[in-house]
Symmetry: C2
Subunit: 175 residues, 2 copies
Amino acid sequence: MAAKKAPEQNAHFYDNPMNSIGYLTRITFRSFSRNLERMTLEFGVSAGQWPFLRALWNEEGMTQRELSRRVAMREPTTVTALNGMERAGFIKRVPSKEDRRKVHIFLTAKGRRLRDKLIPCVSDVNAIAARDLDPADIATLRRVLLKMSDNLAREEAAYLKSHAGVTLPMGSETP
Amino acid sequence: MAAKKAPEQNAHFYDNPMNSIGYLTRITFRSFSRNLERMTLEFGVSAGQWPFLRALWNEEGMTQRELSRRVAMREPTTVTALNGMERAGFIKRVPSKEDRRKVHIFLTAKGRRLRDKLIPCVSDVNAIAARDLDPADIATLRRVLLKMSDNLAREEAAYLKSHAGVTLPMGSETP
DNA sequence: CCGAATTGATTAGTTATCTATCTAACAGGA
DNA sequence: TCCTGTTAGATAGATAACTAATCAATTCGG
């Protein structure tokens, strides 16, 4: 008699979206994001600006690149988000004295004041998400999501490394 | 002596993005999606088309509205995704005989053939995500994400209901 | 049976995010 | 010093997703 296979190995397992981590994280993230934005928009803060504000409440004066790394977004996303936040008067850009390429990001008083309004919003939405769930399971969820995103990021990095130089450094094909 | 508070109740708990379900689902979803798209693009399938294809491999002939519900996207998203898939020759639109508003969606032979190429891609990416994790924890993850997205969807529905008629049905304020 | 409400698909316009590319500024070696 | 490569930020253009509004077809209550 054959050994019982893990369900993941069944050829039809991923026919059902409910089994795929991609589908489950998408629907949870989007629903979370819509709920949060509904609350933060009352203070003029969009879903895209929110993660940058949280990072800045923890630490001001980072460069844009460092900020991008902190919130796990690409640089162009950071540029457009900061443009909007600058227009809204939440942040100011301060060119570096030592290195004229760098720009340091600081909150305005207005941006700093938002913290006490907005942190309760995330707290609320997290509480809604966690309703009727065992805290131990939520702790497991956090740990597993973090590990997965790490696994996936490693894979991306490995792929990029293995394909470095596919866009040839111009002339490298003629020795 | 005071009772030990749950960490979620600490005023600074959500200063750390690692504690927020929103942040964790976002970074996991985006990394998952980038990895998957890298593989599916080789077959001409973008990240946005993929969920619709999976739904159609399971059942053809749904209307666009029903399809939207299945993949958990809004109707306009479905329209643009289907436009692209129609142009690529993956699907065909068939107007309903009984109700001329409705359009039924069917796969072409080309779209049907993609299944055996693409299901292994999701399977691969899920395996990468699951690396070094206890299968029991992954089962917990699936169950908890599903429950959370349900909690959050309920909240959205409750909000919409409580605010129904804010856009007044024209003249309802003059009895 | 007719006008009002509802439904299915679409269009218009916005935001978020990405990749690829560009420019400017810096750093180090010949 | 000058050339080369790297780094920081910005720009261009694409895709994904959303809300709100539109349009046509259907249904339903009086």
